[in-house]
Each structure stands twice: as C-alpha cells, then as structure tokens.
C-alpha cells in the first residue's frame, strides 16, 4: 500500500474522524485554473485528492462529470499533462494522497508500462479504473500494484456477498463504496443503508471504506462520515466549476475561491460529523 494513503487513514483514525475526498477533473476548465483548484484543496481541509483523467466517453459518470471531461479535453488536457499536474502539485505537497480516477482507454493508448512508471514518478498514490473489473486484473491491476500503486476498487449495492471477496481480492489503499446503483451525481444516498453496507464490507476487509456518488452538501457529507472512513464529493464541485464559466467557457474571476469555499464547508461537515 502507498505510504501516503496508509498514513493518512491511520492519522484520521487516530483523530477519530472521517476524511474528505474530493474529485475534480484534471484540466477543467483549463490547465492553470485546474492546478490552482487542486493546489488549494489541502488548505481547505481535503484529506485525499481524487483527480479525474479526462475521457471522451465516461460511461459510468453523469452529465456533470462528462461535461467536465469534455471541457478539459477541449482545453487541451492530455494524459501526460494530467501526470504533469500531479508532479506540480507534489512540488508543494508531499503528504496528501493523490488518486487518479478514469477509464482504461487513454492509459491503454499511452501504454500501461509507460503510464505506471510516469504515475509513480509524478507522485501518484493510487488508481481507480472504473471499467476494469477484477475479471480483468491481469490486464493492469497486477502490474500497477507491483509498481507500488494502490488499486482502489469500487464496491456497489449490486456487489452481493458472493461477489464481495472477488472485489476485495487485489484491492488496496481503500475500498470505494458506490452508495447508489446509478451514475455519478444522480440520486442521494440513504445514510442508514450506507452504514449497513460499510459494516458488511468492513467485516470482510481491514481496508478503510470511502463512500461516494450523490453526496452534494456538507449535511450529506456529515451523514456519510458517521458511517464511513471517508466521504467522496465530485459532481457538486464539477457543477460549481461549470456554473462559474463565462459565455465563452472561460473561468470567471472568483471560480477558484467559490469552489474552495464549498470544499471548506464540506470539510467542516465531515469534521463535525462525529462530534
């Protein structure tokens, strides 16, 4: 397991609180604004950073994140530049875990060996590859793990007791529980059901469990943080990026501060959850 992810969850456990994970799409709406957004996250109380690798056809994501992906691509974002973004983030922050999330095709096109090596060198700690189920582990999960990258697996409400061991096998870093059967940014999760699912997963693994999909407000984040080791927020932030663009699609002044302000509120919600 990556030292940064392990140490971060150990520290959260020691503090007796859940963590906040935020998702932003690399290069959305443009490379420089994106870097400023991501650099500011730890100062706003984010515990782990999830960065989306843009893809033209993000099938498991909702309209908000797809739009963010397409804005980033239109702004010239490429996979090599995503890795460069992480490298630049690492120049100023050596502690916050960075997880890259995305779909397999851009990685496949770059070449998995080259991608894995570049990701390790850039300071990436873990990967979430949405369209690589355990059935395809030999393809990419095993070489990535061998190079020291955590392979964070998604578990969902459709992952039953029979399937859970398959999902947990080769998983590392933490388990990302998808709280709804649906796409990102759709329905809100029901906290009690999430609690039950988290307990079920934790009875089968020592890995921390983060919960995401559908969490938009500090109150929702707090409700999840009572049950999970971390709450993940993505679409709400990507939506906020979208609503702070001008007619030409360029970042309006204040975009970064507006997004950071919501992140601070979310962090406060998560921190106060178990008080």
């Amino acid at each position: 397991m990556s030292d940064r992810i392990r140490e971060r969850f150990a520290a959260l456990a020691a503090e007796g609180r859940a963590g906040l994970v935020t998702y932003l799409c690399a290069g959305d709406p443009d490379p420089e604004t994106s870097l400023a957004l991501i650099r500011g996250l730890p100062g706003c109380g984010v515990d782990l950073i999830e960065i989306g690798m843009p893809f033209s056809d993000p099938m498991a994501d909702g309209p908000a994140i797809q739009a963010g992906n397409l804005r980033a691509i239109a702004g010239g974002m490429k996979l090599a530049k995503v890795l460069d973004l992480v490298r630049r983030f690492r120049e100023e922050d050596q502690a916050t875990p960075v997880i890259l999330m995305g779909y397999y095709n851009p990685v496949h096109q770059m070449g998995k060996e080259r991608f894995i090596q570049s990701a390790v060198e850039a300071g990436v700690d873990g990967l979430i590859m949405v369209d690589l189920p355990p059935e395809e582990d030999e393809e990419f999960c095993l070489p990535a793990k061998a190079a020291g990258l955590d392979f964070i697996r998604l578990a969902t409400p459709t992952t039953d007791a029979k399937r859970l061991p398959v999902v947990l096998n080769n998983a590392s870093g933490f388990i990302y529980y998808v709280s709804i059967t649906g796409i990102t940014g759709s329905a809100a999760p029901v906290a009690d059901q999430v609690g039950e699912a988290v307990r079920r997963i934790k009875s089968s693994t020592t890995l921390p469990v983060a919960v995401g999909f559908g969490i938009r407000t500090p109150e929702q984040a707090a409700a999840i943080a009572r049950h999970a080791d971390a709450a993940v927020v993505g679409s709400a932030l990507v939506d906020l990026v979208a609503s702070n663009l001008d007619e030409a699609g360029k970042a309006r002044p204040g975009l970064v501060e507006t997004v950071h302000s919501l992140v601070r509120d979310l962090a406060a919600g998560v921190r106060g959850a178990r008080a």
């Binding site: 490429k78 779909y103 095709n105 369209d131 189920p133 059935e135 998604l154 459709t158």
Partner: protein, 402 residues
Amino acid sequence: MSQRNSLRNMPDENGHYGIFGGRFVAETLMPLILELESAYEAAKKDEGFWKELDGWFKDYVGRPSPLYFAERLTEHFGGAKIYFKREELNHTGSHKINNTVAQVLLAKRMGKTRIIAETGAGQHGVATATVASRLGLPCIVYMGAKDIERQQPNVFRMRLLGAEVRPVTSGSHTLKDAMNEALRDWVSNVHDTFYVIGSVAGPHPYPAMVRDFQSVIGRETKQQILEKEGRLPDVLIAAVGGGSNAMGLFHPFLDDDVRLIAVEAAGDGIETGRHAAAMAAGTPGVLHGSRSYLLQDEDGQVVEPHSISAGLDYPGVGPEHSWLKEQGRLEIAPATDAETLEAFQLCGRIEGILPALECAHALAHIAKIAPTMDKDQVIVLNLSGRGDKDIFTVAEHLGVKL
C-alpha cells in the same frame, strides 16, 4: 478442420478473442453481466429455447429469408455470379430482428420487465420496439439527437410501436453517445432492466451471443447455396459497422475455404480522416465494454466517425472481427459515400431493390471485384436491410427535395 483448431470456438471463457473482447465495465454492471452470461449459457443448452426461437423466426420474422440470384447485376458487372441473402425481407426490414427476438425472449426467461436499447439508423431500435411490443414489455430506445434528425421515419415507427425514444444530447449526439446513455440507464436500473445490444459489440457475452443469434443467416445461406450451386460460394461479403450482419453471415463459414470480405464505411475517403473505418484505420482500444479496433486520437480519446449511413457511423467494431482480421481470416475493404450512393442507385435501377445504405457499401465493393472474377465464381452479399429508411438521406445527397 478439427474442432480444436476451429476458428469458430472463440471466445475463451473470459470472453476474449485473442487480445480482443473482454468485460471492461463498471463494477455495478458486473453482477448483471455475469447473470446474463449464465442465463445465456443455460438457454443455449435448452432445446426448448431454440425451438421457441425457431417458431418466432418462421412465423413472425418470416424466415428463412430467400437467397436470390441477382441476374441483371451479374450481367451488368460481367463476372462472378452475385447472390443476395435477403435479410431485408424480414419483418421490420433488416437482420436486426433475428437478434432482438432472441434477446427479448432471453429477457423474459430472466424475469426482466423493462427493455432498453440504443440505435443509430433506427433499425435496431425498430426491431427492439417491435418485439417488446409483441411481448408486452415497456421499451426505451436511446438515440443520438443528430440521428433522430436524419432518421425521422424510424423514430416515428418506434413511437407507433409504443416505445419511448429518448434523444441523447451528451457528447457528440450520435450512436456512441446513445450507447453510453443506455449503459447509464442500465447501471441505474439494474434490477428490472434488460439491455438489448444491437451488434456484436459490448462486454462479453454480448459479442458471442449476438453472433450466435445472427448465425442463422450464415447457416441458411450455406444450405441454400448448396441447393442452388451445389457448392460453397467463393466470396461472402457484408458491410461492417459494429458488425452483426457480417458476423452472422460469416461465422458458419469460418472453417471453410471461402473468402470473407468486410466492407467498412470510408466516408469521404480514409485519407481525409472523415470515415468510420475502424479496422482499416483504427488501433486497438477499449470502449463500451470490450477491446477492439477503435477510431481514437493519440491520447486515447474516441474520434467521431463519419459515414453517409447512420448505421455504420460507429467508432468501433465487434471484437471477433478484430481478431479475425489479425488472424488474416477477414479481408477489410473500404467503400466511400460516393461509391455507395452509386451502388444504391444501380441496384434500384436494375434489380428493383433499394438496399439499405449499409449494404450498398458492400455492393460498391462488389462493383470492384465481380468484374475481375470468373463467370463460374460465386459471391454472396448479405443484403441486411431495406433502403426505405434511407431515401431522405439519398435525396439530400442527390439534391432532390422530398
């Protein structure tokens, strides 16, 4: 050829055809994909399922479809004998109905109560809406907003059949985006929904399952050509977008000494970059649940294809096609929009048949090879769909106002 060395034994147990195929989907869908796979494996071994399907094929679809000797076209080109496998005579006007009948019957067996599909030109959507209507299941068809504009008659047909056509305005508003939306719907409604995929694409088991359902085309062709000519054809030819009509024709012949030619949409010409020729000009990539040849840029972003035919306008191709191409078993040929328009008109003028623009691509390639072949040689074209749906597109390209 021994069973062990047969080209017909693919995929392996994980749905791989060499490096192609597989199951590249989100975890939410995996239990569903595995459930579908076991339901299909059980149905495959159940004689009752095939008997029921045969009944539907005979009395509802209108099978077997004829194998027709295109005498005037043969005379026109002055070379090989040209036969059409008349899939356009099926109920709803294309080969798509073979697969949708079978998949919706499977959905019923699985206790699913809601049918979803995606469609490009509308043929698969119409076929799915038809069978869902016949079996009393609600049906939602995702269709790119651009395709809805250029395929109005099929959109109206689907609505008359009781289906809900949902316009897709995400991404580039075409077939690949409709497929993304259908996958999103499926993820959101996993408990009661069956996703009827219309081509030999998508995650395992779809490519193998759709191929098996469409192989009735090739099996009939084999029997019919033996009756008519006393021997197998020299060439089988079919247009390839996703590739289900081609795979259905080719598969029963994979181990035979027959040339197999897959014709891809070359659009304005492959060199212009405006085409849909995934095998001729794409590279291996992962989209919509499997690895196959894909039109993509150097960063792995999917490139929007172009073809005069909305049915071929897909950036990928079925994984088995990709594998057969790499095995050297499949010949890949291009046909441009212009060549296709010419073939479309020629067929109407001298055979009294308006072929779908999809198959007019294959006919355009026949125009290139038939004259070079001997008169005793035989070509079979899969005439997979009717051209009625395409008259508006053709009129527009010919500058005719309807």
